[in-house]
């Protein structure tokens, strides 16, 4: 048992020394002598240039993702606004659903027919195996149908959705959404293409 504990202690990146060593006691003012290992002290006190959002902050408290266990610091101006308009905004989780993922793939659309699409799938688990599958277009959300084009990327996840006290077996397909090209970007690309074309034409004339 002792050997096992020792082995774990050597391997564990969370070395016990940082908490059970003299640096910890010194920090608590329970022992007056200097810490025996200065390098431990460096790890015990955060560097002075640590960014301010490393500290607990009120936004984490609002997030359903977080553990909602801290007393958070709320900036005064924001506190005033939220207390005035949304008194309970900080205390409750905002995203209520949970999804227990079973498997996830990234897909690339290869072909589209009237009622279906064929896609190459890459398993996003550690196996990273590949395969092809055909999906009925009925499975795609109507808002995503304009995105279904050869080469489009989507994510397909299967699992259980816990919603409103029910566990539902779910398949979620979401297409990648990137910003639309703006007119000035299209114009700039066109100018670049024309310039390159002129260069090639010039080469041919020479």
């Amino acid at each position: 048992m002792k050997a096992k504990a020792k082995r774990n202690r050597n391997y564990d990146p969370f070395q016990y020394a940082a908490f059970s060593g003299s640096a910890a006691l010194d920090y608590l003012n329970l022992r007056k002598e200097e810490p025996t290992a200065p390098s431990i002290k460096r790890h015990f006190f955060p560097p002075s240039d640590a960014p301010d959002y490393n500290k607990p902050d009120w936004a984490s408290e609002m997030s359903d993702l977080e553990n909602t266990s801290h007393t958070q610091e709320i900036p005064e101006d924001v506190k005033e606004v939220t207390q005035k308009y949304v008194p309970n905004i900080i205390s409750r989780p905002l995203i209520k659903n949970r999804f227990l993922e079973l498997q996830k793939w990234e897909g690339i659309v290869l072909q589209i027919s009237k009622d279906s699409m064929v896609a190459r799938l890459i398993d996003l688990s550690e196996k990273e195996s590949e395969g092809e599958a055909e999906f009925a277009l009925d499975e795609i959300h109507s808002d995503d149908l304009p995105l279904v084009k050869p080469g489009a990327i989507f994510y397909w996840t299967i699992g259980y959705l816990d919603k409103g006290g029910q566990r539902i077996r779910a398949s979620i397909i979401r297409f990648r959404r990137l910003p639309r090209w703006r007119t000035e970007e299209l114009d700039a690309a066109k100018k670049d293409a024309e310039y390159t074309q002129k260069l090639f034409k010039g080469d041919q004339q020479d």
Partner: protein
């Protein structure tokens, strides 16, 4: 054998200068970054010059003048979250952003109450605390380390008992990036390029850190 997390999500936090009122569901839909139906059904908590907060079924957005936060607690949407942020700041590319946190959150169920206590004892041994407190227990522990790459920043790991999963462990990993020369920042291209190039590495590394902690504890 570590069980899969019951809740797993990511959030992305930027530090910079933002105009909160831009970031409304209708704006995201108009840019084609979320579905129209999602924008129509969004729950808007507050829209005010100093703060905007709204949620979709899978997304929470919160913007203050110096902070942008977007997160999901549903693993199918982790990649969608990243695409949403990339799309948003490819459009708003003049927004000055100096720091970024790619944060991973997970709630792992433990096999039993004993196994749950065991994790607490392993990551924070009570030898010292037993002399100081009566029945000490781990409430929260944060450990910070240097980055394993050339970027400026750090990686911090926080462990707590889960408040969402019975006998569960909550693990938060803050993968923090900073620009090397923030004073010269004019827009957000550098940070957004960093997000795009580092995303996969960051997610994989955070998931491995969480699993390693529970395997060793």
């Amino acid at each position: 054998m570590v069980k899969k997390p019951e809740i797993e999500g990511m959030n992305i936090v930027f530090r910079g200068d933002f105009n909160p009122k831009i970031f409304q569901p209708a704006w995201f839909a108009a840019q084609g970054l979320i579905r129209n139906e999602e924008a129509d059904e969004a729950t808007v908590e507050i829209i005010h010059p100093t703060i905007v907060v709204f949620t979709l079924d899978w997304l929470q957005i919160q913007i203050e003048p110096n902070r942008f936060y977007a997160g999901t607690n549903q693993s199918p949407y982790i990649e969608i979250l990243k695409d949403l942020i990339l799309g948003t700041f490819r459009i708003l590319n003049h927004t000055p952003i100096k720091m970024m946190g790619i944060n991973y959150n997970s709630h792992f169920p433990m096999d039993s109450e004993d196994a749950w206590h065991d994790v607490g004892h392993r990551v924070a041994p009570k030898d010292m605390w037993n002399k100081i407190l009566k029945k000490p227990g781990l409430r929260s522990l944060t450990m910070q380390g240097e980055r394993p790459d050339d970027h400026k920043g750090h990686i911090a790991v926080r462990i707590e008992p889960s408040n969402r999963v019975r006998h569960g462990i909550f693990i938060n990993i803050n993968d923090h990036y900073e620009l090397k020369d923030p004073e010269s920042v004019l827009g957000c291209e550098a940070i957004i390029d960093m997000l795009e190039s580092e995303w996969k590495t960051s997610v994989t590394r955070s998931q491995r850190i969480a699993i390693t902690i529970l395997e060793q504890a």
